[in-house]
């Protein structure tokens, strides 16, 4: 595992750019030089050619002059010979030409002295020649042929001519020489040009190749630099902002790992002497990473200590494995880089790579180290600052509390000082009085002392007597217990003997005697029963009755009781019914003997006191863990005044009863005591002459003391919605797009149980660029709607598990789904109902394809946003314009209306998202306008924001609240608020259901029979709460009357009583002005008329005693704010009188 400590990377940027610049400069210089050389060569060649041309021109000029001379001479000769003037023509032509050309030639040779001399000679010669010609011609003309011939014969002309010729020839010779020299020069120049061209081409190629190489090097360097810079920029972007140390660590690590393509990474932040792990990237959760590393400890610590990056190649086995769900591998190369700030290492980052680490990566890390280091350092200091700030805040609060406390003590001290002064004066006065009183007191004390002694004596006597009494009572009980036992033994034998006698086995007794024996037996039985009762009672009283709980099967108990009492009932021709209700348990845990004893007693009493009719034992569940045994009869009943004493031992309801019906009258007392022993009680409901019900209430399991269960109350669950129609089986599912919903396309939900038609709808939807979800059941439709939040729903009405209308209703009642537009398609006509429930449209099957497409487009249209429209109703033109200007924007179109009529016209023609309304209009008040809008279907009724200059009374405000979203009173800050409210409102419009739909839902929502038409008095001072509660409760058919404080509640109740109308239930807020809810409840309960009026208290208080207070004041129930809608509804249902 080679570990390399990496040196700091050298800055190579300057070098590379310098070399690039140098190469370009060299290249440019080279090309300038070659161009200069080429230029020089070309100029040499061109000069040579020019001079050759010149020489040639000169020669030809000379030849021309010579031939002209010849022409002139020829002309002269012809004329001289013939004398004919026509021969003079060549001569005349040549003369001017010669005169013109000679200076030309002279000019050309002007540069050369030798030639100029020669030229002068030629000119002289030519001149003399021409003179000679002219002279001869003149001679010929004047003196005739002979004179002329003689002149010619002098040969002067010829010699001159020859001289001219020779001069010209020499001149030509010269020129030829010159040309030859020039040619040579040109040749040399040309050769040198060729040489330099080849050389520069070769050098140019070499230089270009070098420059190209350098350029590529530079490009590569720039790419690397760009990569580095991008990395740094990305990192810096991630590190911007007030982030905590861990956030910085996470961000830096994530950014670097992703940028460097590291497979795994950890981030350690300096924390005192050691380093704390502040972040990890792609580290599996089960990996065991150290949470803390000391400086110098391990590679990481080493890197931190050195302040230099470490590169680890070919990591051995045993390093942390990186894994996804598919497999695992370990990093092959590690890079550990410290981050510095102010020459201190603030963090160390470790990366794991699969591929070897590039130099660029190392360089990037090196360059980023400082940024990360500083970010960490500043996050640390930020954290420290926040801590210090909190500390400061705490201290400042502490100071303030101490200050407050000091003020209190100060006030107290002052108070006390004052009180002290006063009391001192009083004390002095009192002292005098006291001395007097003291004397009197001493006397009285003596008296009192005596009295106290007497009292103490009396008390001791009393205590002694009480103890004696107690003992006597116990003796009595003991005696009775023993006594009755003593009595029973002889009685038993006499009973048996009487029985034997009565059977008359010997057959020697007369009928009379048998009757006597029977009477003895029956009297003995009565006596025994009496003794048993007395015994039982005394046993209970002496605390000697044992209870042995065991499992008692109710069925067996009932059989046994039936067998026992059926004959008795039959003999008295009474019907006996012993049965258990369904909710009764199969068995209970109690003492069966005692239980049976109680029931026997109750049943025999019932049978005894019933002349005709039925006696019934009904076993039922009575609350949690309790069971009731109710014994009902249709007998004589018990008068209310007597009901309490029937349970008292030794006193019977009516002294005469005993005599008439027999019995000891102890049975009920014993039963009651036994019931207590079994942890239960016996209750009695009865009226004289109307039968009685004795109910034995027992715990289902007898064990120690069983706490009383609360009375069954508020436990009624809300009724489950009944399923509609018979259940059909769900048809086969149609394939849909639920597995590839991508967000790019809108989703529609098709709810249709006919798979063929569903397929058609889905393919149409796909054609319209929707993703389609398809389901055949109402249940799934709802869950899909909630899960995918489709942009639209196509809904069938006849679904196998529920009606589509129910689905629609549920969708529109759920805040999360109610904004989804729903188009209903059905074979049966429920159009009205569906639209009432909030459907966007309704199509009757069979449906034409075009209509389906139109429906889909309508859904699409509803989904896409449109321009918001606001109607401003304000009569003052200036104000109106100002408002329009204030509210208009790119997304909002504002339309002004100057009167109520104008407003109505606008609303009739088109729809608006929001309306700003001034209350005072020229043709109608805002109140009237609102009423008109709400009561008529002709106008679209947008949400209204009232914008008014006048103050409103509470009644007015309440009236306006029903139709408006917000009320703003004009003033300094009102435009600000108006803008705010409108903006807010328009923002909400999208997600919110249109108001008319809300009202439709309200109408359509199932009116629960229990609540329909009932009157609720709502006592609440908060208008907004009133509005919220009213709109919650009214859809259930409840009539809501409103009181704003306790006094108004009392007034409303008084009025209701006078007008003989009902108030079925009161919802009472506790915190109200003028008279609070608790006082109001107490006052209501004082009036007997309203004793049974259900009152639900609404309280913001949470402690148990607060709620207790509500109940004690007389509320039937309470509900804590913030109000839970479901709870409120179920409480109203529970307490609403049927």
């Amino acid at each position: 595992m080679p570990v390399n400590a990496l040196p700091k990377t050298v800055q190579s940027r300057t070098w590379s750019s310098l070399s690039l610049l140098a190469s370009v400069l060299v290249l440019v210089a080279f090309f300038i030089i070659t161009a200069w050389a080429a230029f020089l060569n070309t100029r040499t060649v061109r000069d040579a050619a020019h001079k050759v041309d010149e020489s040639r021109g000169l020669v030809s000029e000379m030849e021309d002059v010579l031939s002209l001379l010849k022409d002139a001479e020829t002309g002269q000769r012809g004329y001289v010979i013939t004398g004919d003037e026509k021969y003079l023509a060549p001569y005349d032509d040549a003369l001017p030409q010669i005169e013109k050309r000679l200076p030309d030639i002279e000019q050309r040779v002007a540069s050369d002295d030798e030639e100029r001399a020669r030229m002068d000679t030629i000119q002289v010669l030519v001149k003399s020649k021409l003179d000679e010609l002219a002279r001869t011609i003149a001679l010929r003309r004047t003196q005739g042929f002979e004179a002329a011939r003689a002149e010619v014969a002098t040969d002067r002309g010829m010699s001159t001519m020859d001289q001219i010729r020779s001069q010209f020839a020499e001149l030509e010779q010269d020129q030829r020489k010159i040309v030859a020299v020039r040619f040579d020069e040109a040749q040399v120049a040309f050769e040198s040009a060729v040489r330099s061209g080849v050389t520069s081409a070769a050098v140019g190629i070499v230089l270009t190749v070098i420059a190209g190489w350098l350029l590529q090097l530079a490009a590569r360097a720039r790419l690397k630099r760009d990569w580095l810079r991008t990395g740094q920029t990305k990192l810096t972007e991630r590190l911007i902002g007030d982030q905590t140390v861990d956030e910085v660590a996470g961000q830096a690590l994530q950014c670097l790992c992703q940028y460097l393509d590291a497979k795994v990474g950890t981030f350690f932040v300096a924390d005192g002497e050691s380093f704390r792990r502040a972040g990890a990237f792609a580290v599996p959760s089960d990996a065991r990473l150290p949470a803390r590393i000391a400086s110098g400890d391990g590679l990481l610590g080493q890197a931190a200590k050195l302040g230099r990056a470490l590169l680890v190649k070919d990591v051995p086995e045993g390093y942390l494995a990186i894994g996804s769900s598919l497999g695992q591998d370990r990093p092959r190369h590690l890079l550990i880089s410290p981050a510095m700030a102010d020459n201190a290492v603030t963090a160390v980052i470790e990366f794991g790579f699969f591929e070897p680490v590039t130099a660029a990566a190392v360089e990037l890390l090196d360059e980023c180290a400082e940024a990360v280091g500083i970010a960490i350092a500043s996050a640390l200091s930020r954290q420290r600052i926040v801590e210090l700030l909190e500390e400061t805040q705490r201290q400042s609060e502490e100071l303030q509390t101490q200050g407050e406390e000091l003020r209190v003590s100060n006030e107290e001290l002052e108070e006390q000082a004052r009180a002290l002064q006063e009391s001192q004066a009083r004390l002095e006065q009192q002292q005098v009085e006291m001395e007097q009183v003291n004397l009197q007191l001493t006397e009285r004390t003596e008296l009192l002392q005596n009295q106290r002694n007497d009292l103490a004596e009396t008390k001791t006597t009393l205590e002694r007597q009480a103890a004696a009494l107690d003992q006597a009572s116990r003796y009595k009980s003991d005696f009775l217990a023993n006594m009755s036992h003593e009595l029973r033994t002889p009685l038993n034998s006499s009973l048996i003997l009487a029985q034997l006698l009565a059977e008359n086995r010997g057959g020697n007794l007369t009928a009379e005697q048998i009757r006597y024996a029977t009477t003895i037996k029956s009297a003995g039985n009565d006596l025994l029963a009496l003794i048993n009762d007395v015994l039982d009672l005394s046993k209970i009283e002496a605390g000697r009755m044992d209870v042995r709980p065991q499992k008692v099967f109710l069925a067996r108990l009932m059989t046994s009781l039936t067998q026992q009492f059926d004959p008795v009932a039959a003999t008295r021709s009474l019907a006996l019914r012993i049965h258990a209700l369904e909710n009764a348990p199969a068995s209970i845990e109690t003492d069966p003997q005692r239980l049976e004893q109680i029931l026997r007693n109750l049943l025999s009493n019932a049978l005894k006191f019933t002349e005709q009719g039925t006696v019934e034992l009904e076993i039922s569940e009575a609350g949690i863990g309790r069971i009731a045994f109710a014994v009902r009869d249709t007998g004589i009943g018990i008068d209310e005044s007597q009901q309490r004493i029937v349970f008292e031992p030794f006193c019977q309801a009516d002294g005469t009863t005993n005599r008439r019906y027999g019995g000891t009258g102890l049975g009920l007392s014993i039963s009651r005591e036994l019931a207590r022993l079994l942890g239960g009680e016996i209750t009695l409901q009865s009226r004289a002459g109307a039968g009685s019900v004795f109910t034995l209430l027992l715990p289902e399991t007898l064990q120690g003391v069983v706490p009383r269960a609360p009375a069954p109350m508020a436990a009624l669950p809300a009724p489950e919605p009944r399923p509609r129609g018979p259940q059909r089986e769900a048809p086969q599912a149609v394939a849909d797009d639920r597995d590839n919903i991508d967000g790019a396309r809108k989703v529609i939900l098709v709810v249709e149980d006919d798979p063929n038609f569903a397929e058609v709808l889905a393919s149409l939807g796909r054609e319209q660029k929707f993703k389609c979800l398809v389901t055949a059941t109402a249940q799934e439709a709802l869950s899909l709607a909630r899960q995918y939040m489709p942009s639209g729903i196509l809904l069938d009405v006849n679904l196998p598990d529920a009606s589509g209308l129910a689905v629609l209703e549920r969708l529109k009642n759920e805040p999360a789904t109610r904004h989804i537009p729903v188009h209903v398609i059905s074979a049966s006509d429920y159009a009205e109902k569906a639209l009432e429930l909030g459907a966007l449209g309704y199509l009757l099957k069979p449906v034409a394809k075009e209509r389906l497409i139109a429906a889909l487009q309508e859904l699409e249209g509803r989904m896409s946003q449109r321009l918001k429209r606001v109607l401003v109703v304000e009569d003052n033109a200036v104000q109106r314009d100002a408002l329009c200007g204030l509210l208009a924007s790119r997304e909002v179109e504002v339309i002004g209306a100057k009167s109520a009529a104008d407003c109505l016209e606008h609303l009739e023609k088109s729809t608006f998202d929001c309306m700003v309304l001034d209350l005072s209009l020229p043709d109608a008040s805002g109140f009237v306008l609102l009423d008109q809008l709400s009561s008529s279907d002709r106008y679209a009724f947008p949400p209204v924001i009232i914008y008014t200059g006048r103050e409103l009374t509470t009644d007015e405000e309440q009236r306006l609240r029903r139709h408006s979203q917000a009320i703003i009173i004009k003033g300094a800050k009102s435009p600000e608020r108006l803008l705010d409210e409108v903006a807010l409102f328009l923002h909400q419009v999208v997600a919110d259901l249109p108001r008319e739909h809300q009202e439709m839902i309200a109408k359509a929502r199932s009116r629960e029979a229990a609540l329909d038409g009932k009157r609720v008095l709502l006592a609440e001072d908060d208008v907004r709460n009133v509005f919220a509660l009213t709109s919650l409760l009214e859809p259930y058919g409840l009539n809501i009357e409103i009181a704003r404080n306790g006094k108004e509640v009392l007034d409303a109740l008084e009025q209701a009583r006078n007008a003989n109308t009902r108030i079925d239930l009161v919802l009472m807020d506790i915190m109200m002005p003028e008279m609070d809810g608790l006082t109001a409840i107490r006052r209501i309960r004082q009036d007997a008329h309203w004793k049974r009026l259900p009152i639900i208290a609404l309280t913001a208080k949470a402690m148990p005693n607060d709620q207790q207070e509500c109940l004690e004041a007389g509320a039937n129930d309470y509900l804590s704010k913030p109000l839970n809608v479901e709870k409120l509804l179920s409480l109203v249902r529970v307490w609403m009188p049927r």
Binding site: E404, I946, L960, I1070, M1071, P1073
Partner: protein
Amino acid sequence: MRMPAEMREEVEMSLLLEAILARYHYDFRGYSIASLKRRLKQAAERFDSGTFLNLRDRLLMEPAIFPQLLDYLTVQVSEMFRDPPFFRALREEVLPHLKTYPSLKVWIAGCSSGEELYSMAILFREEGLESRTIFYATDIHSGALHKAEAGIYSIERLAQFSKNYQDAGGKASLSDYFTAAYGNAVFDKTLRRQTVFSDHSLVSDSVFAEVHLVCCRNVLIYFDKELQNRAVGLFKDALVRRGFLALGAKEGLHLSCHKQNFAEISHGKRIYQKRG
């Protein structure tokens, strides 16, 4: 390492607070420890109980002394128009906003013996808002609430009150609002006509109405951070959008977890506006 005695004291204190909660349903567990300890020590001294545990036992046995203890546990001290620049800022910067609402609710949380309430009522009357405003004056100490409802203050304090009132930009004379006799001054009954006095605990109770202004000054200083956050959360929930929250001079939201829900207006006066 702390002294064991000190630790024991803190344990005893928390036991005492638990007992108060269980027996009297007052929850002081979230109060700032240092201050609470000082006040409880004073109380223990006053009731000759020595240790907090003795005080606890006594409290459990004698319900009658609890109201007196409550006097120690709640610091009931204030004055009218305390911190006049605050009331001036309220008048100049907050009330113009409130004037745009047709009806108003103001919650004075921790109203103590009512000085703040009467100051507020006078301010609202002078700005013509009183008739459409309901004030909720709440406190956990029913004794203090009774005092607040009575509106009677010692005449000696009135001089300071008057000065504050003038400094706060009062439009009349404070004496227009009270009648002085027998060493006391009683404030105009009609000032509390619109007021609901109620026992309400910021520790355990919830929001009871939607309000436009919450005034809770020098109450949060007695709470620890968690409880401060709860209280401010309640205020946040109670306030209408763009409603106002007024705190005491040493209280601020910059360390509260709800700070992003409020914007401070009128720098340094500790008046905040709930964001939309």
